[in-house]
């Protein structure tokens, strides 16, 4: 028995939504970043599933996934560095308390 494509897509969409919820609901900047990583992994599952089922001879889907990994790593590195720098001056990375700039 093979797993149909739609199962992968439903799983990926659910994972994306969970990640998006974390981005919206979590107050800790690191938890928000984890939510973003969930969203990116959902995209990777989508891409690999589409590649396997629709264009198994063309590698562009797989290559896209490799790029997503690499860019996500670079982004996380910069993001965590920013958070460390904020923690040093404010002793918090709760996004609700980083609110000096507003209307």
């Amino acid at each position: 028995m093979t797993v149909p494509l739609s199962w992968y897509l439903i799983f990926a969409t659910a994972l994306f939504s969970i990640g998006f919820f974390a981005v919206l609901a979590r107050r800790n900047a690191i938890a928000v970043l984890m939510g973003v990583e969930l969203m990116l992994n959902a995209v990777n599952i989508n891409l690999v599933a589409f590649w396997r089922y629709l264009t198994p001879t063309d590698l562009s889907g797989q290559i896209f996934v490799v790029f997503v990994f690499a860019v996500a790593a670079a982004e996380a590195a910069v993001g965590l560095a920013l958070m460390i720098s904020i923690y040093r001056t404010r002793k918090t990375i709760n996004v609700d308390e980083i609110n000096e700039l507003k209307l």
């Binding site: 969203m39 995209v43 589409f50 889907g61 993001g79 700039l101």
Partner: protein, 488 residues
Amino acid sequence: MNGSQILRLLSPELILLITGFVVIGVDLARHREDEGRTAATVAVVGLILASLAAIALYMTSPNAIVFYTLAIDLYGLFFKVASFLGVALVIIASVNFMAGRSKYLGEFYALLVFAALAISVLVSATNLVLVYVGVEFLSITSYILAGFLRGDERSEEAAIKYFLYGASSGAVLLFGMSLLFGLTGSTDLAAVGQALKAGGDMHWLGVVALALVLGGLGYKASLVPFHQWAPDTYDGAPTPISAFLSTASKAAGFAVVGRVFLVAFPDFQPEWSQILAAVAVLTMFVGNLTALKQQSVKRMLAYSSIGQAGYILLGLAAYSMDPTFGGINGLMIYLFGYIFTNVGAFLLLLPIEKKHGSTDMAHFDGLATRAPGVALLMALFLISLAGIPPTAGFIGKFFVFAAVINQKMVWLGALAAVNTVIAAFYYLNVIRRMYFAESSAEGGVSLSRGLLTVLVVNAVMVLAIGIFAQFFMTWVNTSVAWVTASGF
């Protein structure tokens, strides 16, 4: 295509790449002595050489696709020249501002050069993978630049807000791209467009992908409702970086939105035209109405820059094949003038910030008697932002609005006109305070030589685009020829 041809077509990018590394190297050797002046000089020379290389390429009207992913065409080269010049102006103006504020000046200028390289890749990208990599390359350099004043709470806050919005928008963009890949089995924009044209019963999923891609790219162009980061980031970031983010970086966002929509979604024009019109109206109203009540001029300019994004987007919403009022040419001339206008307006805040410590409206009271030159330049940039002739802002608005009327989108034109009036109110209010209000402070403001040069260049360009509009429009109209040629 052989090696030397590829080198020639990629010469602007290669020059920038080498310049970036040379800037870091030069700084290693010299940064203690001159506070980054040598590094900045090298960076500016590199950017000017890259612009010249891009102009030289432009003269040969190339229409090539390198490595199956980078289109070296007139549209891309137009945006390259405009943003390289914008970044060069920002660097010259940063020299005095950054000296003493940070120890890592070589890295600062190198990052600006790499940001220009990212823009250059982004405006040429014809492949979903490269569009994503370009957006993230530009974003990651921008996060660091926005938070460059380490230990300064406002700068750090600007960076973290930009980062959190940018990272989530990037994921949304990718999800849209993964759906596009699934729908069409290709990551090439043109192939995606062809496959979508063949269509089938999955049209609705194409619209979902389009909306997700617009959400992901729209944050770069600060379109409502993806704009929440913009006011805080423009306000908190070092002022030259605000100037960069609100101009060159935004122009790149519009360039890539334009290319993706026109190449990958030509068949969806009825849908995206409506979506973009709605987004443009929201962007104009939110930006302009919030700008009205700002007490700080920097924050007012931040919101005004969101409002301006709304006008610019009208050009794409009203896209048509019309050779004179096609919309996309209005978008391009608007952005070209806007880069010089807004860089000028933001950089004029530097001397005020330096003298008073903030950019409160009250510090502009009676500026015309204390510093007539500064007040005159500020008035010129504000008049251009308001869209009053004979400035660049007027030409941009004229072509964008004409495209809207040409497409018979009368209600859209009316709403845009209402917004122009609201915007004129707060722009002219600053001019009123500069010229007619009682001065609350003593003494003029001083401009450094570099900053003065940059402001004069900006002012000359703003007036030149306004007065010799014919010349610039010919140039812009040549640059959009690819859209018409691609048989949209």
